[in-house]
């Protein structure tokens, strides 16, 4: 282990054998075929954006997890485990359950009964167009920039591991994902996600098994890591003290991650919630969240644990993020190498296709359709929206491919986007909770609440180290911005008039099941009368 302990990641690529290339080729061709095959069933914008509301629970649940894991999550997740230890696993464990259950049984029924396609659309119906456009603009910006970042960082990773030009990896992804997302919409995205998740799990499990065996098992790993010094004493602990210098104290994990950030993430991230909107029934929608929770249980085994085995095997890596690529290079035999590279491509493609389809949905539902309605005084037809949706898909994936080169010049842009997401999550959760459970919450209160919560989060981030013990106090910032947003929305709403009952009927708890008028409105929303 001594020699291997000094292993460094170099820029020399992995040599892929014929069998590796065959596996990779078969995977890419199979994915393209499956995605294009799904295109046969697309007849309208509802089919394209929401899979014609036909997804079974198992496919939607697996797709939620596949969209959630990108190549960078695998690389930086293993890197964070290498650096901070097992506490990293909380992001998939306490960061998934109970959040998925709360979202599945509280938020999903309301979205479902409101018959909406996006979360901003739900907030717009409940609180007015101002809140809708603020939410839609922020999420669209985040998703489109994220697409470019994913493409660049993944291109860089695959380029480094395979010794390819990063642009080759980027444009292979752009063309591949673009073709099947253009052809098959959400159905193609979800069905390819199912295959991609299985490939990802099998490839990563092989890597885990090999690295675990090489490290000599759990006891040997704990011994060799523990022997490195007192700073590694907590490396195999899930919960760290409140005064830890890492970003993951137990209090932040419980209150910030478990209660606020993860609930808000699963309730508001369009890339996640769109799969739920595409399911064939309310029961499937709820069940898909539980299935996602089941798969999430395994994710730390495939991401966090390899990071820990890398620490035991190669303790002197230049950067923690080299943990996963180093294991791949040093341990995998021919055949398995092709499988793990296919797994990386799976993670990349499902991540990109998920965000691509969701960006298109937000752009069509929250910007294009309202603008057409305003100027023409009537709804755009489903066929017209399908054409626009497909055009936008091509435009967005090309823009993201070209934007990847732009993103390369700003190293901090990835951190900026992640930080921005943490700013918006607390206030959005406050708004959703009050919108669903408190009929007195009004538009002005909601707008004041979301803006004030957002600005408090920015302010706390600016003065972070003066108040919190870690350099990156995002877990605590989300809690305080949530509480502040909650307080401001309540205070401003109480100062104004309550919203008229006809506006919020069917959108607030207690006004759905017990109100016959709301039930009639709901039936009308779900099965609109035939205009003919």
């Amino acid at each position: 282990m001594g020699g291997e302990g000094r292993a460094k990641m170099t820029t020399a690529g992995i040599h892929l054998t014929a069998i590796d290339l065959l596996i990779l080729f078969a995977y890419l061709v199979g994915t393209l075929w499956l995605g294009s095959f799904c295109g046969r069933f697309i007849k309208s914008s509802d089919d394209f954006l929401l899979a014609g509301k036909s997804l079974p629970f198992w496919a939607a649940g697996m797709s939620i997890v596949a969209t959630d894991i990108g190549v960078m999550d695998m690389v930086s997740g293993a890197g964070a485990a290498y650096q901070n230890g097992m506490a990293q696993a909380n992001f998939d464990w306490l960061g998934s359950v109970p959040a998925l259950i709360i979202v599945g049984f509280i938020f999903v029924p309301f979205y479902w009964r409101a018959g909406v396609s996006t979360v901003p659309e739900f907030l717009g119906r409940r609180f007015g167009e101002g809140v809708r456009w603020f939410q839609a603009a922020v999420w669209l910006f985040i998703m489109v920039v994220n697409l470019a970042i994913m493409l660049w960082m993944s291109g860089l990773f695959l380029g480094t591991v395979l010794d390819w030009n990063p642009y080759v990896a980027i444009w292979i992804t752009v063309v591949g994902v673009g073709i099947y997302t253009y052809a098959g919409g959400l159905t193609a995205v979800v069905m390819t996600d199912v295959i991609q998740l299985l490939v990802l799990f099998v490839g990563s499990a092989a890597l885990l098994a090999l690295s675990y065996w090489k490290a000599g098992g759990a006891a040997e790993m704990a011994r060799s890591v523990g022997a490195r010094g007192p700073e590694f004493a907590n490396h195999f602990k899930l919960l760290l003290p409140h005064n830890t210098t890492t970003s993951y104290p137990w209090s932040g994990i419980l209150f910030g991650l478990g209660m606020v950030m993860s609930t808000s993430y699963f309730a508001t991230n369009q890339a996640v919630i769109q799969r739920v909107f595409g399911t064939r029934s309310e029961w499937d929608a709820k069940a898909s969240m539980i299935v996602a929770g089941g798969f999430k249980l395994l994710v730390p085994l495939l991401i966090t644990f390899p990071g820990l085995t890398a620490l035991a095997l190669y303790p002197k890596l230049e950067k923690a993020d080299y943990a996963m690529p180093t294991l791949v290079r040093q341990l995998l035999p021919p055949g398995l190498m092709g499988l793990i590279i296919a797994a990386f491509f799976s993670a990349l493609m499902s991540n990109v296709s998920g965000y691509l389809n969701s960006s298109t949905t937000v752009a069509i539902t929250d910007f294009y359709q309202p603008v057409i309605r305003f100027f023409r005084g009537r709804e755009a037809s489903a066929e017209h929206c399908l054409k626009v949706g497909r055009g936008l898909t091509v435009g967005l994936v090309l823009a993201a491919g070209l934007g990847a080169d732009f993103v390369r010049r700003f190293e901090t842009i990835y951190n900026l986007i992640q930080t921005m997401m943490s700013f918006i999550q607390g206030p959005t959760l406050a708004l959703l909770l009050l919108g669903i459970f408190w009929r007195r919450a009004n538009s002005l209160g909601a707008l004041a609440g979301i803006l004030s919560g957002f600005f408090l989060a920015v302010a706390l981030n600016l003065v972070g180290t003066k108040l919190f013990r870690t350099d990156n106090p995002f877990l605590f910032v989300s809690v305080w911005s949530f509480l502040f947003s909650l307080g401001v929305t309540v205070a401003v709403s109480l100062c104004g008039a309550p919203p008229p009952p006809e506006r919020i009927r069917g959108l607030v708890y207690g006004m759905v099941d017990r109100d016959p008028e709301a039930q009639a409105l709901l039936r009308e929303r779900l099965d609109p009368p035939n205009p003919a």
Binding site: P98, I101, L460, V463, F468
Partner: protein, 89 residues
């Protein structure tokens, strides 16, 4: 930016510090078993409240009323491994 930071230093930092210090002191004093207990309670309460939902609402939209489609059982089975992880690791 400097002006903004100095304003925040003057108004926000002292107020938040006044709010945070007692909370930090309380959380620092909690023993590890209390962290574990808090997380496990959150898991149990946050997930198993679903068991209180009436059967009719659970089956809303389900094609059949078979026993395996009772999502309350799914939630209980899902929560168990998570609870064991936080009890033992």
């Amino acid at each position: 930016m400097n002006l903004l930071e100095s304003l925040l230093d003057r108004w926000l930092v002292p107020f938040m510090a006044w709010l945070l210090r007692p909370i930090d002191a309380f959380l620092d004093g909690l023993p590890p078993w209390a962290w574990r207990l808090s997380v496990c309670l959150f898991l149990v309460v946050g997930s198993l409240w679903v068991l209180l939902i009436p059967r009719k609402s659970i089956y809303d939209g389900a094609p059949t009323q078979e026993r395996w489609r009772d999502l309350r059982i799914w939630v209980a089975l899902l929560t168990l491994p998570y609870l064991l992880i936080y009890l033992w690791l």
